[in-house]
Subunit: 335 residues, 2 copies
């Protein structure tokens, strides 16, 4: 196994220790718990708390977004596994600044079950909670079963909108409403060319054929829509953008933000080459791109591949997107 780690069973704890050693001025553990990270920056009294949770192995998702203007707390489990309901409940209580807490997370079975229990526990302690499950991956289930779709890189845009809305001192109901409006306009699809290695397994848990590409693969290696012969960057851009705009038509004059997200093993050059084609296709339609994001935002450790997310904007969503944010792995200042 070619992973640069120590004991596989210490992978998550040591990652968290690294984060605290590096960024302890910006983030902190909840009572020393190496599975719950909280912001260590000043929080406006009475602000709605925004929290998330999920399995490890996706950095900068989720831990990297704890900070100002995005999320206030994050609970993590083992690699690709949900944290416990108890840790989520502790986090929710710690992130209640008096106006309730929005739990904003990817639509996966374990996370959903545990957040349901955690919210019950928190409500019992008089913390008002709301939940939004992100389901941006259009390849993970057909549109008629859109409630079964998984959450992937679009989570970042959801955090951005909810975090900015909370910073503007919107109420919990208002934060929920604007985040749901955003999510109705956020669609993602990905492709993968190599698998990844879960540290405690030590070898790839799935395979992708030589010269093949998995269209629609999930960030844990969930099978996609189809396996194809390797495609060019332009073909990938056309295919994915086509699938997205089939569901979410774009017209001349529309404004969108585009996220070309590397899954871990794909060079930045290749992400830029894919972005190039996406931008050209959008330009041809008369669609303007606002604040593109190109880089690694939601990874699957060393998996090669990428996803494309399109976020269709209105004036309110655009303002929230452009609002400042500052966390150890996301800075959007002075733009």
């Amino acid at each position: 196994m070619k992973k640069i780690i120590n004991k596989p069973e210490n992978f998550v704890d040591e990652t968290m220790e690294g984060i605290i050693l590096a960024y302890g001025d910006k983030v902190k553990l909840l009572n020393g718990d190496k599975r719950v990270l909280l912001t260590n920056q000043p929080v406006k009294p009475g602000k709605v708390g925004i929290v998330t949770a999920g399995g490890s192995g996706h950095l900068p998702t989720f831990l990297g977004y704890v900070g100002q203007g995005l999320i206030d707390g994050c609970a993590v489990g083992n690699v690709f596994a949900s944290p416990s309901a108890q840790k989520m409940a502790d986090m929710i209580k710690a992130c209640d600044y008096g106006s309730g807490v929005l739990c904003l997370y990817g639509n996966y079975g374990g996370d959903t079950m545990n957040f349901e229990m955690a919210c019950e526990t928190a409500e019992f302690d008089d913390v008002t909670t709301a939940q939004i499950r992100v389901r941006d991956d259009i390849a993970s289930s057909p549109v008629e079963n859109a409630d079964k779709r998984r959450g992937v890189a679009g989570l970042l845009y959801a955090y951005k909108v909810a975090g900015a809305a909370a910073e503007k001192m919107m109420s919990l109901d208002e934060v929920v409403a604007v985040t749901e409006k955003a999510l109705a306009n956020i669609k993602t699809m990905g492709v993968a060319t190599t698998p990844c290695i879960v540290p405690e397994v030590g070898k790839p848990t799935f395979s992708i054929g030589e010269d093949k590409i998995e269209v629609g693969m999930g960030i844990h290696g969930e099978p996609g829509i189809e396996v194809r012969d390797m495609m060019t960057a332009d073909e990938i851009a056309e295919l994915v953008l086509g699938k997205i705009t089939d569901e979410m038509p774009l017209a001349e004059g529309d404004e969108v933000s585009v996220l070309v997200n590397g899954l871990g093993g794909t060079p930045l050059e290749e992400l830029l080459i894919v972005y190039r084609k996406v931008a050209m296709l959008l330009k041809d339609k008369g669609v303007t791109v606002v604040m593109p994001h190109i880089g690694e935002y939601a990874t699957s450790m060393e998996m090669a591949g990428l996803s494309i997310t399109v976020f269709k904007l209105d004036a309110e969503l655009k303002e929230l997107l452009l609002s400042p944010a500052s966390t150890p792995f996301y800075t959007n200042l002075n733009k």
Copy 2:
């Protein structure tokens, strides 16, 4: 070949087109030339210009650092190949704001030869130039032949210091002096676990044995000091930090910045696990870390592995390091 590209021969041009489509408000081409990128942000009149050049395939090095507080211009060649002297000369002239231009680049044969010619050409047109070759890779040549050493991830710190000094309106001589002082205190060493693929070749141009690690490998796959059995993260941190501090001793009370740089295919979790050990070893010595950098700053496309850079600070260097900078792939604001 599992690269997400179009025609291999268009790799560099299309990468540059992607950059311009995404960040055209911040950077621009020189007269439409897809091999020379200039800042598109306001430049203080009379500021010293800072330029660099090198082969493609290392993003965010070099193109990603064109912007405010770092470098003003960058010429790139094909993958792992120097751009021409003519393009460098055009760039130098475009980045002369009246007080001369510092050419700050990695110590490689082609880049050196071409910058020598380019500076002659620019001087002929009455542009004052200075050159500094970065040689931070301590594994690339023994200390008695330190002038033969290559430039790797420490380039970022060199850009940061020179860029901040120029923003403070220091003269060309002063920028050169403080950058040389910084470079005497910047040491890097890397390890690699998998090779990378040059697009026009289509397969790895070198190999690293199964369960082996190359200690001291360069960012183009140059052989390192030795091939070892795969090491743990802690062993890598101890080995590399030990080699660096053998040359540059650190004592209680010293302040350093540390850059743990991913070469392209190594997950952020693993970089944090290595940083954890580096930080613990430095803490044991009573050394304080200022503004650590953990992520992909100087890559070799999809190569797996990492490098560790230590930058020993004094009051002046610390202030320059902490000064604001903003480019498409580097933001250091409000810290």
